[in-house]
């Protein structure tokens, strides 16, 4: 697979549910506003519905997954089922997986219609979440 752009990591961001001990580091602290401007946010669609991952906590990444010259969308998702792989944790864990949405449109106007989970060693690639 050829590298299409020079982002330094193809990373899946993982996440968790427990909110009670969330950090407060950035909230309310004074951070100067930069001059960059953005259009109001819109949700990316698959077919005609917003992309929505299991139990929330999406983590997107853009990468030409199938090498067709069009950038595809990879989305890390929270988890379901029971994680049975190697871990140092003794807690009960769920499978966090990575969705691959292939681009059916163009690079300027990407369009997605469904996804497949990233496969590793013949099964859905997964890492622990709760």
């Amino acid at each position: 697979m050829k590298r299409q752009f020079w982002f330094s990591g193809l990373s899946v961001a993982l996440v968790c549910l427990v909110t009670t001990h969330s950090l407060h580091a950035q909230r309310g602290s004074k951070i100067p506003l930069d001059t960059y401007r953005f259009a109001p946010g819109v949700r990316l669609l698959t077919g005609d519905k917003p992309i929505d991952v299991t139990t929330g906590h999406a983590s997107p990444y853009v990468y030409d997954f199938n090498g067709d010259g069009k950038r595809d969308l990879l989305v890390g998702e929270f988890g379901s089922g029971t994680y049975r792989g190697e871990t140092t944790s003794k807690s009960s864990l769920a499978n966090a997986r990575l969705r691959v949405y292939l681009n059916k449109g163009s690079n300027a106007l990407p369009r997605y219609d469904g996804f497949k989970y990233l496969q590793a060693d013949g099964e859905n690639a997964s890492v622990p979440s709760t």
């Binding site: 990591g9 100067p32 930069d34 946010g41 929330g56």
Partner: protein, 518 residues
């Protein structure tokens, strides 16, 4: 990312309890089974709670280091002490290098990207509450040093929305990635979120139901009093105490079994510890009971441990369970009275970057810190860009604030006054295209006419960056400014040396007024 420089991209992923995994790319969209990443001492690398990972050369040694951001503490990195093709990570993490006074970096993820187009990768950080900030890299691309956070997207707040409504902004725990998503030449923000929507689980409570709910809640309050929590805490403390010998057992098993089972040394006699213990017993021809009996202790060289502790653990756990049971039963009883349900979503948001408003330098320059200040004259200066593309134009503004009753003179030479002069020292290939002086106010002084500025004046100089400037290099501009400031019969001379540097980028530069000239 190509973890091992074999020409095939790999996937590297953090996870909830700090573990980091590698899925080696095998080509054609195929990946190998996950592998837990370990440090040079074969201990699992710990990236932090809900960590996300990037590979980046942090110390200009040509290999890729492991950078981890996480939800509850500062981002950190592990040095690759191996090679580019056979990475081996240090067991001790370091904090990210920051410019002086820039604070530290915390966020739910960190994406490396050249946000401002100056040829050096910066850090764009998603945060727990959804705000997006960026830290400019003021070091080198492969030896970064980050400046303080500047906000790109505000904290969306915690407005509850109902299931099915269209949200205005993303939710919390933003995971960000930067890409020119619509191919319009400007870098956009893509981010994933966590949004929890409410829905009605049932029709509103009747009067009778409300009363019943209140009674159950009161019962729960009464149950969970101070004595209840005191005992819960005391039991946890006792549990930690009796678990101490298990720590010794886990350490011994890790050391004695080959390959090491890499048990988490946490003092909990869990299923993994039990399995490792059975394995040790089999190997040492002891009854593989999984029990921490005397013979096993002897074989492990741990004579001081008491097997009786395991029974004590069981007793404490049973008491904990017994204590919690009535409250759990009440929670169950309260369930049918719950009227609001929550549904979690994780959406992917696209924030398209809009072209920058043309910077009004004359106005912006007034907001920066003075470069020089005397009783009569305050001089401020500001560049239109922090980075420019080769051949691109940029401007520098010089603003004089002149005290009441005083004036300085225009740039033209005259017989009866000293003009204001700017002597530029420009890097090779940088051209001064134009300099705009506002029209001076003419006053007559005896025989002669003098062009003067009173109050405030801003001079705009336009430059062209060299066409052949190398991306990543810096244009250092210096100027020596001289002026004469007068009132009636009194005149004073003033001068200032100014310096600023503008980075040369690879692509269309982003305008920014965030870097005032000194």
């Amino acid at each position: 990312m190509d973890y091992d420089a074999d020409g095939v991209d790999d996937v590297i992923a953090g996870s909830i309890y700090e573990d980091i995994y590698l899925f080696r790319g095998l080509g054609k969209g195929k990946f190998a089974k996950r592998k837990l990443l370990r440090d040079k001492n074969n201990n699992p690398l710990k990236g932090g709670y809900c960590c996300t990972t990037e590979l980046l050369d942090m110390d200009a040694d040509g290999d890729l280091d492991l950078v981890c951001a996480n939800r509850i503490s500062k981002a950190k990195w592990f040095e690759n002490v191996g090679t580019r093709s056979t990475p081996k990570f240090d067991s001790v993490s370091r904090s990210l290098p920051m410019a002086k006074g820039a604070g530290s970096i915390t966020g739910s993820n960190a994406a490396y990207t050249d946000w401002d187009g100056d040829g050096k990768r910066d850090l764009v950080v998603g945060s727990e509450y959804g705000r997006i900030v960026w830290h400019r890299n003021v070091g080198q691309d492969n030896r970064p040093k980050f400046s303080a956070a500047q906000q790109l997207l505000k904290d969306p707040g915690f407005e509850r929305i109902k299931e099915g409504d269209i949200p205005k902004m993303h939710g919390s725990r933003a995971k960000v990635t930067i890409i020119d998503y619509d191919n319009d030449g400007l870098r956009d923000i893509l981010l994933g979120d966590f949004t929890s929507c409410t829905y009605d689980t049932r029709p509103p409570l009747t009067k009778k139901e409300k009363k019943k709910k209140k009674a159950l809640e009161a019962e729960l309050d009464e149950l969970q009093n101070k004595a209840y929590y005191d005992e819960i805490n005391e039991l946890s403390r006792q549990l930690r105490e009796v678990n101490k010998p298990i720590i010794g057992l886990q350490q011994a098993l890790n050391a004695r079994l080959k390959p090491t089972p890499n048990l988490l040394v946490d003092g909990d006699f869990g299923p993994k510890t039990k399995t490792a213990l059975s394995q040790f017993q089999r190997l040492n021809k002891l009854p593989a009971s999984g029990q921490f009996d005397e013979a096993t202790q002897k074989a492990l060289g741990l004579l001081n441990l008491q097997a009786g502790n395991l029974e004590k653990v069981a007793r404490i756990k049973a008491r904990q369970e017994e204590l919690r049971r009535p409250a759990n039963e009440l929670y169950q009883k309260l369930r049918p009275y719950r009227i609001t349900g929550y549904k979690s979503h994780g959406w992917v948001w696209f924030y398209r970057q809009l072209p920058q408003r043309k910077v009004n330098l004359s106005k912006e320059v007034l907001t920066v810190k003075p470069a020089t200040r005397t009783e009569e004259v305050t001089l401020r200066t500001l560049a239109s860009h922090t980075s420019v593309a080769p051949g691109e134009e940029f401007q520098l503004a010089l603003n004089f604030q002149i005290a009441d009753g005083w004036h300085i003179y225009g740039p033209k030479k005259g017989d009866s006054y000293l003009p204001t002069t700017i002597e530029w020292k420009l890097p090779k290939g940088t051209a001064l295209k134009a300099i705009q002086w506002p029209k001076p106010h003419l006053i007559s002084s005896g025989e002669s006419v003098q062009p003067t500025y009173e109050g405030e004046v801003t001079i705009l100089a336009t430059f062209i960056a060299p066409k052949g400037a190398a991306a990543g290099s810096k244009l250092k501009l210096a100027a020596k400014v001289n002026w004469q400031v007068c009132r009636e019969l009194l005149c004073k001379l003033g001068d200032a040396k100014l310096e600023t540097s503008i980075a040369v980028g690879t692509s269309a530069a982003h305008h920014s007024t965030s870097a005032p000239a000194k």
